[in-house]
């Protein structure tokens, strides 16, 4: 199996605070990795380091075969990142927003409808400005915006937050399908009940490093 993420002794610093303190991690293609840990353990920073948004101060890091110390921008267009924030333009209509996100990663805007249907976003709200949606509906638009770009690596920070049980199950199904078609998924989550069964591996972080790894044997 080919490694999608390969980190060795990675240290990352945000401002003057060490967010990753010598982290080792290898994630293979098709894995669904569940990252857990207390607040401030470095989970979000791990995702951002994988996305190339924060620079690696020391250690070896490669994502999708690109050396992150050489060019951390290179793998970005193949990565779908969903952070705490939804990355939504409040004043844009739902379908226009998803179309924009699709076009901005070079995907077809015509896939918008399929993506919105996949996250079960009610059709009567497609032309409503995002600002007037509920938190759960916004999360769905955010997921659809990600889905439409068909990323090879999904980095999700609390993707289930604000979603109801039905929508969570649906999201799990989407993730399983993506993983089956070759995508790799890393998601951070505090709550495991619904999601535990989909993760092929669970790691626990503390103090900017991995302290437990279910895949390590």
């Amino acid at each position: 199996m080919s490694a999608v993420v390969e980190f060795e002794g990675v240290v990352c610093v945000a401002g003057s605070f060490p967010v990753l303190t010598g982290l080792d991690l290898r994630v293979d293609r098709g894995e669904i990795l569940h990252v857990q840990g207390e607040n401030g353990a470095g989970k979000t920073s791990l995702l951002r380091a994988c996305a190339g948004l924060i620079s690696v101060s020391s250690g070896k890091a490669s994502v999708l075969g690109f050396d992150m110390r050489v060019d951390r921008k290179a793998p970005r267009r193949h990565i779908g990142l969903l952070g705490h924030e939804n990355n939504l333009y409040r004043d844009l209509e739902v379908s226009k927003h998803v179309e924009f996100r699709a076009a901005s990663v070079g995907a077809r805007a015509s896939d918008t409808a399929a993506a919105l249907e996949k996250v079960r976003f009610p059709q009567q709200l497609w032309s409503v400005p995002i600002g007037s949606l509920s938190a759960g509906q916004r999360r769905k638009v955010a997921i659809a915006s990600l889905l439409v770009g068909r990323p090879q690596l999904w980095l999700l920070d609390e993707p289930h937050a604000a979603l109801d049980t039905e929508s969570r199950k649906n999201l799990d199904a989407i993730l399983i399908e993506a993983s089956a078609s070759g995508a790799t998924i890393i998601f951070v989550s505090h709550e495991s009940p619904v999601t535990k069964e989909i993760a092929s591996r669970v790691i626990t972080m503390d103090g900017g490093r991995i302290t437990e790894d279910s895949g390590a044997g």
Binding site: R77, G83, N87, L92, S104, V105, S145
Partner: protein, 222 residues
């Protein structure tokens, strides 16, 4: 690249059309400023007439600064900048796209301010071609510089004060050239109106070249 530029510009304009910040708030405010200038100069018609060009560009500067701020607040809001960084849109395209959207918005602002000075300050146009050329040149320069310095202060806590501090010295030559060119076009001063308009085009070109090269540095984090 052209497709990316239009993609970004269309998105910005669509956001603006929904939010109506430029038309609903900035334009009325700029008009109000034209009126307040009249109070400050005690409605001295000859002074207002001579100063019309300069006051026009000052009002554009004020409204433009607000629009520039807004253009980047939209991106830093809800983490949208992250999505742009993760997208396939090249930084030069993002730069030109945002500048194009800003150009359209400032043009709309000017279409409201223009009649404003003609009516309120009692001035007439003697050279329409020069007036329009100067307006376009100045607006291009404003948009390009605005996007550069807007990105410079984007996402910082003190951006509301930092942006004007950094922007005004850079735009000082544009204000100067715009005022002089307008004075010629409005017939209050004979002079090299066309050379001033040309100067604004040169400023716009220089900043476009710089922006194409440097914009990516401004928006990267970490």
């Amino acid at each position: 690249m052209l497709a990316e530029i239009f993609l970004v510009a269309r998105k910005d304009l669509r956001v603006e059309r929904r939010a109506k910040i430029a038309l609903g708030q900035v334009a009325p405010l700029a008009l109000l400023i034209l009126m307040v200038f009249a109070f400050a100069l005690d409605a001295n018609t000859s002074l207002l007439e001579r100063g019309a060009g300069g006051l026009y560009w000052l009002a554009v500067l004020y409204g433009g600064t607000l629009l520039i701020q807004r253009s980047f607040d939209v991106e830093t809001d809800d983490g949208n900048m992250d999505a742009l960084r993760m997208s396939a849109i090249g930084m030069p395209s993002l730069f030109l796209g945002k500048a194009l959207a800003l150009f359209v918005q400032i043009t709309v602002l000017e279409l409201i301010l223009g009649p404003g000075i003609l009516l309120l300050y009692n001035v007439g146009v003697v050279d329409w071609v020069l007036l329009i050329a100067a307006a376009i040149a100045g607006t291009v320069a404003f948009s390009v510089c605005g996007v550069l310095w807007g990105a410079m202060s984007a996402g910082l806590r003190v951006r509301a004060t930092l942006l004007p501090l950094l922007l005004v010295p850079v735009l000082a030559p544009v204000l100067l050239a715009g005022s002089r060119a307008f004075e010629t076009a409005l017939g209050v001063r004979a002079g090299a109106g066309w050379t001033w308009a040309g100067l604004m085009f040169v400023i716009a070109a220089v900043h476009t070249a710089l922006g194409l090269g440097a914009f990516g540095f401004l928006l990267e984090e970490g």
